[in-house]
C-alpha cells in the first residue's frame, strides 16, 4: 500500500468547489482534497449576481448532488428572443427565437442566483469531507514528483497537484509565470437585478443594441437579471446616475413589455475583456475557469466554459488514478490541456466575432447579420446545432456534462 498525496485547489468559487466534489466522487474518500480560499469564511454568500447554467452544466451539478438544492430557486429559460435594433427604434424586429429545450423536458439553460449555488456547493463539499480552509494559497514549490503548497494558516501540504481556480486575476497563474494574451473590449457590462410588473414566462431576451448586447435573463418571481453592455466610459457614467435618471436609461433599453421596471440592487460595472492563458498547465499545476480564460459574456458562456474545464480535468484525473497513474504527472495534465484549450480558443474567437458583428451602427453589417440570423431561424437543423452548442453539448463532451458519474 502507498501513502496518498492529496490535491489542493486554490479558489473556492463555482469551479473550485465543483472540482472538489467531482474528485471526491470519482476518487473516493482516501484521497485528501483541500480547497483554500479566504472567501470560504464569507458564507452564506451575499453575491447579488445571477448566472445562466446551461443544460450540460446543470447535468454536472445534478451528478454532484447539488442541483436538487438550487432547483427551486432556479428559473428555467423556456424561450429566447434575439433582436437587432437601434436604441431609438420603436419596435425591435425579432430575428431569432429558441424554444429552448435540448431534450424533451430539459430546458437549455436555467438562471441561478450565485449565492444559492455557492452555498449549496459549500454545504455539500463540507458534507463530503473536503478539507475547506478559509485561507489563501501563499506559495508553492513544484518538483517533478510532487508539489509543496503553503497555505495562509502556515500549513504545508505535499500534494500531487495544485489547481488554480482563483479567478481572472489568478495569483497562482502569475506565480507560475504563465502569460495570458487577449484584448480589452473597452466595454463594460452593467449588472443589475430588476423587478417588473408582468411575468416574463421564462423568456430570455437579448437585444443587440449598437453599444453591445443588452440581455434580460429571467429570475424567479417577476425578477430579471440584466447584463447591459456599454462603452467603458458610458457605463461609468450610468452607474453613478441618480435613481430617476438611471431608471430613465433603463426603461429606454428594457422597454415596457413587462410593465414598470425597478432596480433591486445597485448597478455594478465590470470591464469586459478576452484573454486565454498561454498554457493551462505547469509542473504539477492546472488552471481552470477564469484563471485559464475569460471570454465576452455575449453568449453567456463564461462560467459554463469553466465548468467544462472542471469536468474535463476531473475526468482526466480520475481516469488516471484508476489506472494507478499519478494524477499530477505531466502526461495527465497534457491530456486535460489538449481537451480544453482548443475549445476555449474557438469559443473566444466566436464570441469576439459576435461582438464585432453586433456592437456597431453599420447598416451594411446590420443587413448581413440579420440575414444570417433569419436563415438560422428558418433552418431547424442549423438552429438545433446552435442550441446544442450554446447548451454546452458540442464537441467531445466530458462524462460529467453528459450527466454520467465518473
Amino acid at each position: 500500500m502507498s501513502h496518498q498525496r492529496g490535491i489542493v485547489i486554490g479558489g473556492g468559487a463555482f469551479a473550485g468547489l465543483a472540482l472538489a466534489l467531482a474528485l471526491r466522487q470519482g476518487l473516493g474518500p482516501d484521497t485528501p482534497i483541500i480547497v483554500a480560499d479566504p472567501a470560504l469564511a464569507l458564507r452564506p454568500s451575499r453575491d447579488p449576481r445571477a448566472t445562466a447554467i446551461v443544460a450540460a452544466c446543470r447535468r454536472l451539478f445534478d451528478v454532484l448532488g447539488v442541483w436538487d438544492e438550487v432547483a427551486e430557486t432556479a428559473q428555467p429559460i423556456l424561450d429566447m428572443v434575439v433582436t437587432d435594433s437601434a436604441l431609438e427604434d420603436a419596435t425591435r424586429p425579432v430575428f431569432l427565437t429558441f424554444a429552448g429545450q435540448v431534450e424533451p423536458g430539459e430546458p437549455f439553460a436555467h438562471m441561478v442566483e450565485n449565492r444559492h449555488l455557492i452555498d449549496a456547493l459549500t454545504k455539500h463539499a463540507e458534507a463530503a469531507g473536503i478539507d475547506l480552509r478559509p485561507v489563501p494559497v501563499i506559495s508553492y514549490e513544484s518538483r517533478p514528483e510532487a508539489t509543496s503548497v503553503t497555505l495562509g494558516d502556515g500549513s504545508v501540504i505535499e500534494a500531487s497537484l495544485l489547481v488554480a481556480a482563483d479567478g481572472a486575476k489568478s495569483k497562482l497563474r502569475e506565480r507560475a509565470g504563465i502569460p495570458t494574451y487577449g484584448w480589452d473590449y473597452d466595454q463594460s457590462g452593467i449588472v443589475v437585478t430588476v423587478s417588473h410588473e408582468r411575468d416574463h414566462h421564462g423568456c430570455a431576451e437579448e437585444h443587440f443594441l449598437p453599444a453591445g448586447p443588452f440581455a434580460i435573463l429571467p429570475l424567479t418571481g417577476k425578477r430579471s437579471s440584466l447584463v447591459w453592455t456599454e462603452s467603458r466610459q458610458e457605463a461609468a457614467r450610468i452607474i453613478v446616475l441618480s435613481d430617476d435618471e438611471f431608471h430613465a436609461e433603463l426603461e429606454q433599453r428594457f422597454g415596457l413589455r413587462l410593465g414598470e421596471v425597478r432596480a433591486l440592487d445597485k448597478p455594478k460595472a465590470f470591464p469586459l475583456g478576452y484573454f486565454v492563458a498561454k498554457s493551462f498547465i505547469g509542473e504539477r499545476l492546472a488552471l481552470v475557469g477564469d484563471a485559464a480564460h475569460v471570454i465576452h459574456p455575449i453568449a453567456g458562456q463564461g462560467l459554463n466554459m469553466g465548468l467544462k474545464d472542471v469536468a474535463a480535468l476531473a475526468e482526466s484525473i480520475v481516469d488516471a488514478a484508476r489506472l494507478g497513474i499519478d494524477p499530477g504527472q505531466a502526461d495527465v495534465l497534457e491530456n486535460y490541456q489538449r481537451w480544453r484549450r482548443f475549445d476555449t480558443m474557438a469559443m473566444g474567437v466566436a464570441t469576439n466575432s459576435l461582438n464585432l458583428l453586433f456592437s456597431n451602427k453599420s447598416t451594411l453589417l446590420r443587413s448581413v447579420r440579420d440575414i444570417g440570423l433569419g436563415i438560422v431561424d428558418r433552418l431547424p437543423p442549423l438552429k438545433e446545432v446552435f442550441i446544442r452548442q450554446a447548451a454546452g453539448l458540442g464537441g467531445e463532451i466530458p462524462r460529467l456534462l453528459k450527466g454520467e458519474a465518473l
Binding site: 502507498s2 517533478p144 481516469d319 494507478g324 502526461d331
Partner: protein, 253 residues
Amino acid sequence: MATPPNSAGAPASTVDPAEIAKFSRLSAEWWDPNGKMAPLHKINPLRLAYIRDAACRKFERNAKSLNCLSGLRMLDIGCGAGLLCEPFTRLGAQVIGVDPSATNIAAAKLHADKSQVSIDYRNTTIEQIDPRERFDIVLAMEVIEHVTDVGAFLGRCAAMLKPGGLMVVSTLNRNWKSFALAIVGAEYVMRWLPRGTHQWDKFVTPAELARHLHNHKLTITEQAGVVYNPLADRWSISSDMDVNYMVVAEGAG
C-alpha cells in the same frame, strides 16, 4: 530486496547480455513523459487498463476502486524503471519488479522513493527468483522478444503462478508489417527507439506464443492487438494483432 548473485545450481540465464546494455542506456530517460520514453508513456495507460481489467474480471474486483488490486501478488518481469510497478502498487497490488539491468533497478528504486510507493525491486532474472515463490499475476510485457529461449522463459513464469493465476504477455508479431512498423518505423523514421533496440527475427507470432503457453498448461482467455493512429497520435486496442499484441492466459486451477 537484493538477491544473492547467481547462486550455484541456478539454471542458466536466458537473458542476452547485449540486450541488457541497450536498455541500461535508456534508464535515465524512463520517467520523462516527453523524453525518449514518450512512446512508452503514451501506450502505458492502455496496457495498465488492459491488465487491470483482466485482473478485475478474473479476481472479481471493481475496476473503479482505487484499491482494485489489493492483496494480489504481482511479478513484473523486465520492469524497467517501474512504469507498471508503481501504478499497480498504487492500486493495492503487492508488486515485485525484476529487471536484469542494474541501472533500471536503480532508477526504479529512486523514483519509487520519490513517489512514496514501496515496491520490492530486484536486480535479477526470473531464473534466480526462489522457485517456491507464487504470484496471482505474472507480467512479461515487451520481454519475450528479448530473451534467448521463449519456451524456457514462459515455463519459468508458468511455474510461479498460483493455481488459476494470470499470465500477461505483450510482444511484437513477426511479419513484413511488423518489420516495416516496429523496426523501420519506430527505430528509423519516428526515432521512438534507438536503432538496434529490436531484432526482428526474435519477434514471436501469436501462434508460436499460443503453442508455448499451451505447452505449459496455460489457457489463453483473451488477446488483443495494440495499434497506433498517427493522425490522432493515439494508441488503441484493436483486433489487429499484426504488430503489437497482448495475450492473457490463465494457469490451471
